[in-house]
Amino acid sequence: MTSTKITLVLLLFVAAATMAAPTQTQVFVPGNASGYFGNPADQLVPLVPAITVNGPGTITVTYVSGTVNIGGVEVGPTGITQHNCPQAPLQEAKGIAGGTCNYVGGLIGVFVSQSRVGYSGFNAVDGTKDATRVGVMPGGLFFIGEGKTFDAKQAGTLFLGINDEHVSDNSGGFNVEVTGP
């Protein structure tokens, strides 16, 4: 085998390995990154882009470390249950309010299609509050907690955030690992 052939075979091998390897990234989600979701939202901090896929694919989000301090209470990625709360982001996502809020301060996410993310004027904040030219619809928010694996049906970007509406007094954040196709 000539050196040219060996080089070609090696290049093909490396290319194949590169194509097969899943994308893996670590992101930090600050404790005030609510994306302006929830009511009354008191600080406009966009959600954090975690991974972008070019087509259908499986995405896995895994909590690694960190806590969020929500007004003096330390919480992990599953958050806490609060009674008589106003409207947390995950409640806004369902069009409900009051009563008991679950997962307050917890890790949440939303997958936004590429056609929306790529639109001029897009920001990863609540699109229903007249706060951005093109935003994110609340109905797409979902709970992640310690981890979640889901299938994206189209090209787009996964954004991560915190399930809390009153975030101006929050601190800390979550380190999260995200794996995609």
């Binding site: 229903t128 509050k129 619809m137």
Partner: protein
């Protein structure tokens, strides 16, 4: 045939005719019935108007009959298709439904609708207003809103109620309204 039998057959005939006939109703949609959608906030707004309830999959037709909406403080009016507005600011109901804010507003004061599944409409604490503004225990998702204008026929896949309203950024200075005919199964 005895008179009892004849009466029974007639009753059956009337019952069958009643079942086959489609429900038709007229409703008035007030110019302030934004359902608190849009950027006008929840202070000055009224709930959307219930028009027809279906018990399962069905075809619903909404037809504008008469009326205009005065949509600003100087007496500008709009029909069910609404009007374009270069100087209007904020976010209209339909813009909120898409999570966008356009530079030039379209379909201001137009007739809009939303079909709410029965499971939600019958839920304790439900009110036909924006569910994303902490204004109601159980509300409506903005993404469900759609434009109706002069007329619209559409199929629903489940039991529920059609609510009608006005597309605007704020309805505090609105008046008038639309008379609308709604036909269901």
């Amino acid at each position: 045939m005895t008179s009892i039998k004849i009466a029974f057959v007639l009753l059956l005939f009337v019952a069958a005719a009643a079942v086959a006939a489609s429900a038709q109703t007229q409703v008035f949609v007030s110019g302030t019935a934004s359902g608190c959608f849009g950027s006008g906030g929840v202070e000055v707004c009224t709930p959307m108007v219930a028009s027809v309830t279906v018990k399962g999959p069905a075809t619903i037709t909404v037809t504008y009959v008469s009326g205009t909406v005065i949509w600003d403080g100087v007496g500008d009016t709009a029909g069910p298709d609404g009007v374009d507005c270069d100087w209007c600011e904020g976010q209209t109901s339909l813009e909120e439904g898409h999570g966008i804010v356009l530079q030039k507003k379209t379909r201001i004061a137009a007739l809009i609708g939303v079909f709410v599944p029965q499971a939600r409409a019958a839920h304790k604490g439900f009110s036909p207003i924006d569910g994303t503004k902490d204004a109601v225990q159980v509300g409506i998702m903005p993404g469900w809103l759609f434009f109706i204008g002069q007329s619209k026929t559409f199929d629903v896949k489940e039991a529920g109620t059609l609510f009608l309203g006005i597309n605007d950024t704020g309805v505090g200075d609105n008046s008038g309204g639309f008379n609308v005919e709604v036909t269901g199964p």
